[in-house]
């Protein structure tokens, strides 16, 4: 019945949605923000540990949401580790383009980690579902808020 939804719900997404990585509030962290999608009521918290060099030493999240938002948050925490704040923001810019624009419309966000780009590509199917873009980008908006020092953010 749902064969043509496999582009959106790829196996990797179903797996991360069901078994999110880096889930739960860590014992220590030095940046956090709370993100909310008023449309569906999803709320997540993103916890970052930024080390002295300005790199993301650790990233966690908790909260509840749909398979897309949970998988996106899970994949985000994995790809963020080891990135500088600038690299993390660049990845956010790329990811936002991935979810909202065709490939040829992507803007230049600076150098990107090719491995992270490849991993995040599983979420590109969201582009065909405008109502679900915010599900995929909620975690990233929240990460951005954590880095910028805003404790609360919404996707609106």
């Amino acid at each position: 019945m749902f064969d043509d939804l496999r582009d959106l719900y790829q196996e990797v997404i179903l797996d991360h949605g069901k078994h999110p990585r880096n889930f739960g509030k860590p014992e220590s962290f030095n940046r956090m923000a709370r993100g909310e999608n008023p449309l569906c009521g999803d709320k997540i918290n993103v916890y970052l540990t930024i080390d002295a060099d300005g790199r993301v030493a650790d990233a966690h999240f908790d909260g509840r949401g749909c398979a897309i938002s949970q998988a996106s948050a899970s994949l985000m925490t994995e790809t963020l580790k080891g990135k500088t704040e600038v690299e993390a923001e660049a990845l956010f810019g790329h990811f936002h383009d991935l979810c909202t624009k065709d490939d040829h419309e992507h803007t230049d966000h600076g150098p990107l980690d090719p491995e992270a780009v490849e991993r995040l590509d599983v979420l590109s199917g969201v582009r065909e579902f405008p109502m679900r873009v915010k599900c995929a980008t909620l975690a990233w908006h929240t990460m951005h808020a954590a880095i910028s020092g805003d404790e609360k953010t919404t996707t609106e």
């Binding site: 019945m1 749902f2 043509d4 939804l5 719900y9 569906c40 009521g41 949401g65 897309i68 679900r132």
Partner: protein, 420 residues
């Protein structure tokens, strides 16, 4: 016999032909056949019969003009047609007089009107109003805005685990001598719960309080008699009753409306204006500032004619059959939790599925052509009450069928398998 309880046979297949949109396909793409639309998002907004569409188009093509002010021919024609909707609405709600019917641009505006005009003059700091936990945000936020201005106190009546209004708790809240208003839904947009309006009104009146019912859902699913339930205010909306958007109704008892100042100022609501003093028109026009939603009013009148011809009693009976059928089928699905199982409810089914977020349910069943609402349904406190972040909601209308309930159930089963 009350014609609103017509016993004419309810031929749903024939009725479906009145709604052009019901034959369209969704998700059609080159190389991919579309799916038949199974529209189960009626609690958000209902589809329109040809009679409503034609009435609005014909009015604009032949009879359109502004109303209430011109001496020319078309202005009088348009005014007569527009004002006929007020008579139809009064009959539909069994209101005692056409002058008790105020037209607004939405149910939401009607709530704001009552909160601002009635609440602003009859309530003072410390006065209490009682809402219920299952209210739509439209029956919460206007009161909070009033609270910020005047210092009124908002109390909340709870519901039982099956979604029935907790009348004992309501009785306790009514023991306070400060309660001035009970503003409560006549039918929950999430749980489907239909509240015992006459009993609530009796309790409120015995405590010296006024009572307002939100009929946005109830009035489209069953016959409503504002005199029988002794409502002081009753609010409904046009677009859920198969009419256009941009049109709402506030019924108010004559003496209460008379006691209220204007809500908005502007043209059409005044008797005479000078820079020193302005006098206002009589009720209900006092509350209808500016050019009204004329075309929408014509469409709403046509919608009332349409449902009245079918019979609200017959519509109710048909939807109750669908509710019983769909409830039984959904209940048989493992891991599915129905939110709202009150013995008196309208054909609205909110549910969650273990391990599957409602948003994912919505996207998946949509691919099978089934349109449901997912999310918080503008009732966030109620989501908290039932410990869910969101639900999926299938809401039935007069044109839905058992086959469509089956399509919903099949799609939901497939969702379970997809995420298994």
């Amino acid at each position: 016999m009350d014609t609103r309880l017509s016993n004419a046979p309810f031929d749903v297949e024939k009725i479906r032909q009145d709604f052009p949109i019901l034959t369209r396909l969704v998700h059609e793409k080159p190389g991919r056949p579309g799916k038949s639309l199974v529209y189960l998002d009626n609690a958000a907004s209902a589809q329109k019969p040809r009679a409503v569409i034609d009435a609005m188009a014909n009015f604009m093509a032949h009879d359109y003009s502004n109303v209430h002010r011109g001496v020319h021919y078309l202005s009088q024609v348009a005014t007569t047609l527009y004002e006929a909707t007020r008579d139809k609405t009064a009959t539909f709600l069994n209101a005692p007089s056409r002058d008790t019917i105020v037209f607004t641009r939405s149910a939401t505006e009607a709530f704001n009107l009552v909160a601002s005009s009635w609440g602003g003059t009859h309530l003072t700091a410390g006065d209490e109003i009682i809402l219920s936990v299952m209210e739509h945000h439209a029956n919460i936020v206007p009161w909070q805005l009033l609270r910020a201005r005047t210092g009124i106190v908002i109390k909340v009546a709870p519901v039982l685990d099956d979604g029935t209004l907790d009348l004992d708790a309501l009785a306790d809240l009514l023991k306070s001598p400060k309660v001035k208003l009970v503003s409560i839904t006549h039918g929950s947009n999430v749980l489907g719960t239909v509240t015992p309006a006459a009993e609530i009104a009796r309790m409120a009146h015995a405590a010296g309080a006024k009572v307002l019912f939100d009929g946005s859902q109830a009035a489209v699913h069953m016959p409503v008699d504002v005199q029988a339930i002794d409502a002081d205010f009753y609010i409904m909306t046009g677009h859920k009753l198969y009419g256009p958007t941009g049109f709402g109704v506030l019924y108010g008892k004559a003496e209460i409306l008379e006691s209220m100042p204007p809500y908005q100022g502007g043209g059409d609501m005044i008797q005479s204006v000078s820079f020193e003093e302005t006098t206002f028109r009589e009720v209900p026009h006092r509350f209808e500032a500016g050019t009204p939603p004329i075309v929408e009013g014509i469409g709403f009148g046509a919608a009332i004619d349409y449902v009245t011809a079918l019979g609200m009693g017959a519509i109710h009976a048909h939807e109750q059959r669908l509710l019983a059928y769909a409830t039984e089928k959904l209940r048989a699905i493992d891991g599915l939790r129905l939110i709202g199982t009150s013995p008196t409810k309208a054909a609205i089914l909110s549910f969650t599925i273990d391990g599957v977020h409602p948003h994912d349910i919505g996207t998946l069943v949509d691919r099978a052509g089934v349109a449901v609402r997912v999310g918080r349904h503008c009732a966030e406190p109620l989501m908290e009450r039932f410990g869910v972040g969101a639900t999926a909601r299938a809401s039935f209308a007069l044109y839905n069928t058992e086959a469509e309930a089956d399509a919903l159930v099949d799609a939901v089963r497939a969702v379970r398998e997809f995420f298994n």
